[in-house]
């Protein structure tokens, strides 16, 4: 045996009560679960006092680019995530013709907030086809990857510039179907599309130009393989989301495919949203459709500086365009009184200061501003006889654009509502957005947050119920047949953690993107070891190992 994990509490992913015992691994597979295993293995781990669970699966990520230089998808792996699904929201790095790379980079920068350097020198574009991209990942992976093919890039491949101009012709539809078929044959776990996303010019991404007939034609190809369709619906509008649920149900029933939409948010501004959507999902599920709403565990927080065009500025093109200016031009624009008046008017229409009033100063570089840290912009504005938007700009300029701000609890933040929602049998826990929005918030640690708040604090789940939701349930929803359970024959993806400690740590700034690019991260608490296909990938004592045992997995 290659590995024996001894004396752990085996929480096997079925949801049944955990039990003490040993677990054995050979050749990357689980070979023994429970009881005492005699003899010795090449590696042994004493898991006394810890939970031994299947590795967690994150079904909504954008690690597509990061995986090319960081096959461990740091820090997701150290949170116990052993399988990630990249390629969401209609965007994947393949299939992609060389001539379309700049367009894709623009879309990725918009959605992932990846710095230019991530695309310029951090890796070599060696592929156009989907299997070429998977080849580029070969030997680099520390986590398993179940990649989606993006509708927008498929459309771009077949239609070129017309992808953002018009409907597809019959010939183009056939070509898109053939291209999707190639992706699925190469290992794509499904197709992603988006009804919401925009590119760096704030124009709709190509998938939004597709008529329903096109999505139906592509779903018919998914039906040949029984694979997933992922969509981003207009989550901010309940009636439209309900229409999307009906569309997905129609496609699911017609083509016998699983579908998932993400995100489904709860918000005090739309208190009926979740109940209405889940009621419709329940009706459609009762008909035999598979329409899985993905719900994230964490509240919506946005951290931002004036150095980048954060999501926080997407509320108005004026702010967003200003934030995308080169640094000196941006400073000049923000220092121009007339331009500033325009921005403030857009942010605080009619003197309504709500948008930035509760935003807090998170960090400054100027010593004389240190007393501002932790205070709200509303409070500072009242003291200065100004407005929150104006003081925010003033603080940013005074700190060479390097002051950072935190807009906390923007929504999805009432535990009494979120706990039961996550535990709903028709809710698919996901929507982490891992690897995306990296300069707006940390998308890592949602699983730790689940255990801390909804198992330990509120008890919306049993420990076993929470493990099942993010392992076996996820694998079943996505049709991944050899992961998600501790069972002989299954792949040895295993997370060992302290159930009394597991959590996400505080959000912090890291400069670990290419060219020292910045992002927000959260490290893990309470995770003791993470095993991917039988190899120790991360541990408390040793950190990240040099094992590259991750694989491409599909349905």
């Amino acid at each position: 045996m290659d590995l024996i994990i001894r004396n752990g509490r085996l929480v096997d992913g079925t949801g049944l009560p955990g039990f003490l015992g040993d677990l054995g691994v050979a050749d990357g597979r689980i070979v023994h679960v429970g009881g005492r295993i005699p003899g010795r293995a090449a590696r042994e781990i004493d898991a006394a006092g810890a939970v031994v669970a299947p590795g967690f699966i994150d079904p909504h990520t954008h690690f597509d680019v990061q995986l090319l230089w960081d096959g461990q998808a740091r820090p997701a792996l150290e949170h116990g995530i052993t399988t990630v699904v990249p390629g969401n929201c209609s965007l994947s790095l393949a299939p992609l013709k060389a001539e379309h790379r700049p367009r894709l980079v623009g879309m990725f920068q918009q959605i992932e907030e990846m710095p230019d350097a991530a695309f310029d020198g951090a890796f070599e574009w060696t592929w156009e086809s989907f299997d070429g991209y998977l080849d580029a990942l070969e030997g680099k992976l520390g986590v398993n990857v179940a990649p989606l093919a993006g509708h927008s890039v498929i459309r771009l491949w077949v239609m070129g510039d017309a992808a953002t101009e018009r409907a597809a012709t019959a010939e183009e539809l056939t070509a898109m179907q053939a291209l999707l078929r190639q992706c699925l044959e190469a290992g794509a776990i499904g197709l992603s599309t988006s009804f919401v996303d925009v590119d760096e010019k704030l124009q709709p991404v190509p998938s939004r130009y597709a008529h329903f007939e096109e999505i139906d034609a592509l779903a018919s190809v998914l039906g040949e393989y029984g694979r997933m369709l992922q969509v981003v619906p207009e989550f901010y509008a309940t009636d439209i989301t309900l229409a999307r649920v009906d569309q997905l149900a129609e496609l699911s029933l017609k083509h016998q495919i699983p579908t998932t939409f993400s995100p489904l948010f709860d918000s005090a501004a739309t208190p009926d949203n979740v109940n209405r959507v889940l009621a419709r999902v329940s009706e459609q599920m009762a008909r035999g459709a598979r329409v899985w709403p993905q719900v994230q565990t964490r509240p919506i927080d946005i951290s931002f500086t004036f150095e980048v065009a954060s999501l926080m500025f997407a509320f108005t093109p004026g702010w967003y365009v200003t934030m995308r200016l080169p640094r000196e031009e941006k400073i000049a624009a923000l220092s121009n009184p007339e331009r500033l008046d325009e921005l403030v008017d857009a942010a605080e229409p009619g003197g309504n200061i709500e948008r930035f009033e509760s935003v807090r100063v998170r960090a400054v570089i100027r010593r004389e501003d240190e007393a501002l840290v932790g205070r709200t912009l509303g409070d500072i504005a009242a003291e200065r006889g100004s407005t929150p938007a104006r003081v925010m700009v003033a603080i940013a300029l005074a700190n060479d654009l390097q002051a950072s701000f935190l807009a906390a609890d923007l929504g999805h933040n009432d535990p009494a509502r979120i706990g039961p929602l996550l535990a709903h049998p028709m809710v698919h826990i996901g929507a982490s957005d891992g690897g995306a929005h990296i300069q707006s918030f940390a998308t890592y640690g949602d699983t730790g947050y689940l255990f801390r708040h909804f198992v330990r604090d509120r008890q919306d789940f049993t420990l076993e119920g929470a493990v099942k939701k993010i392992t076996a349930d996820t694998a079943r929803i996505w049709g991944i047949t050899d992961r998600g359970l501790l069972k002989p024959g299954m792949a040895a993806d295993i997370t060992i953690f302290d159930p009394d400690v597991i959590d996400r740590a505080e959000e912090e700034v890291a400069h670990d993107m290419p060219e020292q690019g910045m992002r927000y991260v959260r490290h893990a608490r309470g995770i003791e070891a993470v095993i991917v296909n039988g190899e120790l990938a991360w541990s408390t004592q040793g950190g990240y190992s040099d094992a590259h045992s991750g694989r491409v997995v599909n349905a």
Binding site: F195, E234, T238, I240, A269
Partner: protein, 73 residues
């Protein structure tokens, strides 16, 4: 399993504009009146830039919000 009634919608067929959709979705209505009705039910399309542009994937409502629905929030 019978589905409960939900707000009716359509999507544009390739090449359709608003008058085409008005004639198809609201037959029997005068085109101008049908257009006004569609506009009032689809502010999400008319409030964006450029207002009224139809994308192939857009949901287009063909009736007002149902009674009892908590708005289009």
């Amino acid at each position: 399993m019978t589905l409960s009634r939900s707000r009716s919608f359509t999507t544009a067929h390739p090449g359709e504009d608003w008058p085409d959709i008005a004639r198809r979705a609201l037959p029997g209505e005068a085109t101008d009146a049908a257009l006004e009705a569609l506009k009032s039910w689809n502010l999400h399309l008319f409030l964006r830039q450029p207002g009224g542009r139809i994308l192939g994937s857009d949901v287009i409502f063909t009736e007002a919000p149902l009674p009892g629905a908590a708005g289009d929030g």
